[in-house]
C-alpha cells in the first residue's frame, strides 16, 4: 500500500522585491500533524515535490498554542493561525500564503508592527502612579470581569485586520483589534482617566468611522472576541465625545 501523503502549495518570495513563486511539497502523513509541524518537516528535508532542492520556509511562530499570535497566515485562502490548523481538517493541496495587507518580509513572514503603533496611538494602558506598593487595586465585580476578560484575550494576530475590506492604505483604518482595546481600557476604573484621549484618537481619518460593518472581523477572530459589539460601543462613545468637544468649542 502506498504511504498516505499530504500535499502543500506554498507561495514564496525570497524578499519584498522578489517575484512570487509557488512551490509544491509532498509529505508523509502522520496523525495529528498541523501546518507548523509540516513546515518543520520541510526544514529537515527541504526538497520540493518534484525533487528540487530548496530552502526551509520562513514564517513567524512561537508558542504553537494559539496564544502568542505569531503564526497568522492565509491557509486555503483563509486568515488563521497555522499552529491550530490541523492537516486532517484541511482540503488538499493545502495552500499557504502570507497575509496580504501587511508589508512582506519573506515567504510567509510579514511585518505587523502597525498594530503595536496603533496601540500607542490610543494609549492602550492603565496609567498607574508607579510600581511601588500602593495597596490593592479597585474593586471589580465578576460581572465586569466577564466583559473585560474576553477583550483582554486579543493575541494581536491581526486576522481581523487582514479580512477587513476597510483596512487598507487608502483609509488608514486602525482596525477592530485596536478599537476593542479602547473599549477594554475605557472600561477600567483607572484606565478610563484617558478615555477622552482614546476617543479623540479614533475620531479622525482612519478612525472608527472607516468601519463599513462588513463583520468579517468577528468571523475571523480565533479568540471569538466580540469585536462588532466593541466597535458599536466605542463608535457611540466617539460620537458623544465629538459632540462634547464641539459644544466646548
Amino acid at each position: 500500500m502506498a504511504t498516505r501523503t499530504v500535499q502543500f502549495e506554498i507561495k514564496r518570495r525570497a524578499n519584498p522585491e522578489a517575484q512570487a513563486v509557488w512551490e509544491r511539497f509532498e509529505l508523509e502523513w502522520r496523525p495529528g500533524m498541523n501546518v507548523i509541524s509540516s513546515m518543520m518537516e520541510i526544514a529537515t528535508n527541504p526538497v520540493t515535490a518534484d525533487g528540487r532542492e530548496t530552502t526551509p520556509i520562513t514564517y513567524d511562530s512561537n508558542c504553537l498554542e494559539e496564544i502568542c499570535g505569531s503564526c497568522a497566515m492565509l491557509i486555503n485562502g483563509r486568515a488563521r493561525m497555522a499552529c491550530s490548523a490541523l492537516v486532517d481538517n484541511l482540503e488538499q493541496p493545502i495552500k499557504l500564503e502570507p497575509l496580504s495587507k501587511f508589508p512582506l518580509v519573506r515567504d510567509l513572514q510579514v511585518d505587523r508592527s502597525v498594530l503595536f503603533e496603533n496601540l500607542k496611538r490610543v494609549k492602550a494602558w492603565v496609567p498607574v502612579d508607579g510600581t511601588y506598593d500602593l495597596g490593592s487595586g479597585p474593586r471589580v465585580f465578576p460581572q465586569e470581569q466577564e466583559v473585560n476578560y474576553p477583550l483582554s484575550n486579543c493575541i494581536s494576530c491581526t486576522c481581523c485586520m487582514e479580512v477587513c475590506p476597510q483596512f487598507n492604505e487608502e483609509t488608514g483604518f486602525v482596525g477592530a483589534a485596536t478599537i476593542a482595546q479602547v473599549k477594554l481600557f475605557n472600561n477600567h476604573p483607572t484606565g478610563k482617566v484617558l478615555m477622552e484621549d482614546r476617543l479623540r484618537a479614533l475620531a479622525g481619518d482612519g478612525g472608527i468611522q472607516e468601519c463599513g460593518f462588513a463583520q468579517n472581523c468577528v468571523e475571523a477572530c480565533p479568540k471569538q472576541i466580540p469585536l462588532t459589539n466593541a466597535i458599536s460601543d466605542v463608535g457611540r462613545d466617539v460620537m458623544v465625545q465629538k459632540v462634547k468637544d464641539w459644544v466646548r468649542g
Partner: protein
Amino acid sequence: MAAPRIIVIGGGLAGLAAVIKIAEAGGNVDLFSIVPVKRSHSVCAQGGINAAKNLKGEGDTTALHFDDTIYGGDFLANQTPVKAMCEAAPAIIDLLDRMGVPFNRTPEGLLDFRRFGGTLYHRTAFAGATTGQQLLYALDEQVRRYESEGKVKKYEGWEFLSAILDSKGACRGITALDLRTMELKAFAADAIILATGGNGAIFGKSTNSVVCTGSAQSAVFQQGVYYANGEFIQVHPTSIPGEDKLRLMSESARGEGGRVWVPRTPSDKRPIKSIPEAERFYFLEEWYPKYGNLVPRDVATRAIHKVVYELGLGIDGQPMVYLDLTHIDRETLNRKLEGILEIYEKFVGDDPREVPMKIFPGMHYTMGGVWVDFNQMTNVPGIFACGECEYQYHGANRLGANSLVSCIFGGFMAGPNAIKYAKSLPAIEGDGGAAAELLRQSETNEKLINNQGGENPFKLWRELGSTMTEHATVIRYNKNLKAADEKIVELLERYKNVNLSDKSQWANTSFAFTRQLYNMLELSRTIVQGALLRDESRGAHYKPDFVDRNDEKFLKTTKASFTGEISGPRFEWEEVDTQFIKPRPRRYDAAK
C-alpha cells in the same frame, strides 16, 4: 553624569519587569527580543500566580508560602532570596491588579484564589486559564507607555549573540543580529540583564515556545558565566503530546477538581464513561491522600511514569492517562478554565467537558540557569539575569504558579540593581572590547554560512532532543547519562559539517537556528554531566540507583563553568543557604 544605559535581553515577564523598574528610576533601556515582546513565552503560563494574600480565611501567610516553596524545591534553593520573593508576592499581585489584569473575582469584587500543587492553601490568583498572557500584556502595556515617552527603545526581531567584555572582564554591551537584514551590530551598555527564559528546545519537543532554546544563556556561559543546577529539569505531569510540540494542560485543571486516573484493568475496552468508579484507579489520590491530585509536579510525573511503564496501565497500552473534568459542571469549567479547554478541543478534537482528557508528562521548565548572586548579578560584572534563565528561586523542583511571581520579582530586583551597579562603574577604556567581539562574531557567521558538509541542522536537533528526552528527564541512570554525553560530543563533531541549504542574507531563519543549535549542544552538557555527578534523588532529579536524598554530599548548588575542552564543563559545588528552615525529609503522602 548621564543616566545609566541598560540593555535588557528578552521581553517576557522578567525582562519587562526589569525594564519598567529601570524606566521608572530614570534610566534608559534598550530592550532586545527575538519576537515582538507581546509574543514572548510568558503568554503560555496558564494557571496563575502565587501570593499568600489569605483572602479565604485559611490563615495563609508568606511564611507558609516560603516553607511550601523551599520544601517543594527539596531544600536546594538558597533561602534568603526565596523568603524575600514570598514576602513581596502579595504586593506584586496588588500592582498587577492596579495595572488592570482581569483577575477572576469573588462576588464581592475581590481577587479570587485557587489551589495549586504542593500547598494546602488557596494561594493562586488567576485570570481564567490564561494568567501568563494577561500578566504579560499588563507589563507590555506599561512598557509601551514608557516607549511612547522615549524612555525605552525596543529592538524586536534582534537576537542576542554575545556579551562584550572589556579588558578587566566587565560587560560593556552586547552583539546582536538583526533577524531580517542579518546585520551584525554592537550595542554599548553599562550593564545588561538577561531575561531569556527556558531551554526546552534542547529536549526537542517540550511545552516551551520556539524561542526557548537557552542559546543566550549558553553564549554567556561560554564567555565565563557559571551555569547552576542545570540538571534540574521539570517535566510537567500533564501535557498533550503533539507532532510539533507538547502542549501544556495546566495544573489548574487539577486545582479546580480534575482527577487523574486509569482503568484498573489494562487496556480496558469499555467506553470510558461506563467504567464504574470502583474499577478506576485514582492513583494520586490513593498514594498521596493528603495532597491527592495536587502533589508537586515531580511527584505526579513519576507516579504517571510508574503507572504506565511499571504497572502497564496506560490507556490502551499507550503512554497516556486520563485527566478527568467531566464531573464538574460546564458553567464552572467555562468560567475558570475555558482557555485550556479550548486548547485541548482545538488540538485534539474532543470536548474535555464531556470526555476525559488524555495526557502525558512533558518537559516544561528548567529550575537551573545562569548563576546569580542575591542581587541577580552573575559572576561576570555587569551581566545580570532574571526569570527562568537564572537558577535562584525553585531549588530542585518548582511549585506551580511560582514561576510568574519569580519572574516579576527577579525583574524587579535586577533592574534597580543593574542601575546601582552602572552608577559606580568606572569609565570605559577605548571601545570596551566591542570591535574584538564584533570580529569574533562575524567570523563565526562567515564560517557558518560558507560551511560545506552534509549535515542538516534540523536533523541534528532532532537527535539531540530525543537523546535528552530519553536519558535526562524523568528517570536517570548513570550509564545512560554517559551515553547521552557521548552522543552530544558526536553531535558537536557532526556540527562541524553542518550545511545550510539557505545561504541568503535576508530573514534567514535556518541560519539563526543553526547558531542557536551550537549553543544548545554546549549547554546540554551541563544538564547531562550535572545529572551524572549528582548521585542522589532530589526533587525533579531522580535516580533509581540512588533513591534517597543525600544532604551530606549533595545539599549543594552545582556550578558548571565552560572549559572549551572535549571533556566538557568543569564542576564545583557551593553551600546552600538554609539559615531559616532546617532541611527535613520531603514527603507528600502525609501533611508536612
